[in-house]
Amino acid sequence: MNIAAVRSDFPILSREVSGKPLVYLDNGATTQKPCAVIDKISRFFEYENSNIHRGVHYLSMDATDQYDRARLRLAEMIHAPDTNEVIFVRGTTEAINLVANSYGERLQEGDEILLTLMEHHANIVPWQMLAERKGLVIRVAGITETGELDLDDFTAKLSEKTKIAAFTQVSNALGTINPVKELTRLAKEKGAMVLVDGAQAVPHLQVDVQDIGCDFYAFSSHKMFGPDGVGVLWGKQEWLNSMPPYQGGGDMIEQVSFAGTTYRGIPERFEAGTPNISGAIGLGAAVDYLNQIGHAEIERYEKELLDYATAAMSEIEGLNIHGRAENKVGVISFTLDGIHPHDIGTILDTEGVAIRAGHHCAQPLMDHLKISGTARASFAFYNTQEEADTLVAAIRKVQKMFA
């Protein structure tokens, strides 16, 4: 990978913040966008904009075609067996809400949902709302000292009562990569439906939903170098076809009359109303861009960067890294003795270093770790070892101020 060339694909990376070159290490929150995506979206609005599935005119047919092609790109990216199983949604959060509301209808009082302690609120709250509505029981698999999922606990909490198991492939707060294939197999043995939260996996890893064997897979465009406001729910058609619609409106119907309405098949059945057309097309461009660099190359580069940054940060006295799983993506969550993460975030910002400080929408995990939050540096393939050095120097400055 030619890092200089890659960085020049992302215009924002050459700007300054606080009079210092931007060091963007908040990729877990959202990623930056390459020219390929920005240009695709501008071109769409400048030259191609139209609604889809509606017009007989050229622009509408062209927009529909582009939207469908974006769907195909995404199906290929995650190795979905059928393009129609890719539903465009607003993001991971909406994808999970869709499944909880629609698939969740079939659960009955006393049924159980198994989650893990490292879930993002997006993979907790929709299930809690469902559980409250239907009288379900939520169980939570714990984690080990190093921040890995406790497989024994996960297995112990599975039973014939478990109807849904929902877990993240990659923890946004710890960086842990979960063995999702193994977890899926265990859950399926008990007959549970499996949803995998892929929000933090898709920017870093090659994903194959057929290999994982899960029933649903959810992710957001904005965390994988695409625009915000769009994302994907992939689901097995046997489920999707048997699920009631999530929202009603235009585009999702076959025929409407006041005597009764019939719904279209997938994917339209779950895409009521005008979708985020430019967003989906922009996301398609992000997939093309990632393919150009190559997932294997991205994984290799990021691993090297993570090892470098981890080693450099481990040398800082009084710095504690939370999450030391064997399999990790480029996320380093840390605390400094006697210094609150918020103060770290503010001081790093004045050095041009953007990180996130707080609970990372994972309060149950923070409670377990007995901390109110962490500072989190999250890397992408456009970050460099020099930037890791800048981060380390800035952390030392924080310690000096608070000495």
Binding site: H342, D343, M401
Partner: protein, 155 residues
Amino acid sequence: MDDLSDLYQDIILSHNKHPHNEGDLDPHTGVAEGFNPLCGDRLKVYLRQAEQGKGNVEAVTFTGEGCAISKASASIMTSAVKGLSADEIEAKVEEVVALLTAQDEPEIDLMTMGDLAALAGVRKFPARIKCATLAWHALLAALKDESAVSTEADG
């Protein structure tokens, strides 16, 4: 001074390291917990009046975890409002909020403001204003013995 050293003045850092009046207050007539959902920080403020809602505030203490700004602000607050009536405290809170959110460089009378003046540096860091106001909102709630208040409740 640059903005950063304006924010983390020695007074702030010293209150953070050695906070005044940290701990429970027994007996107390009012207690409230301030919660900042954006960062998960919680501060509990205790106070004692002759009777709940009556008389000047005899003592104020706080407990909880927070950043340097919220801890220092709480620490400074506990000394600044001791002996004041409920009305005087409300006026004081208004004064502090005005100081924290001032568009222009505020005029500071060090004689009357004391350590409170050190909070002025926060206004250049909009993301941190809620850290500084957390304890003060909790204090107002504690006066009414209202148990809980969130920084997101007042927009």
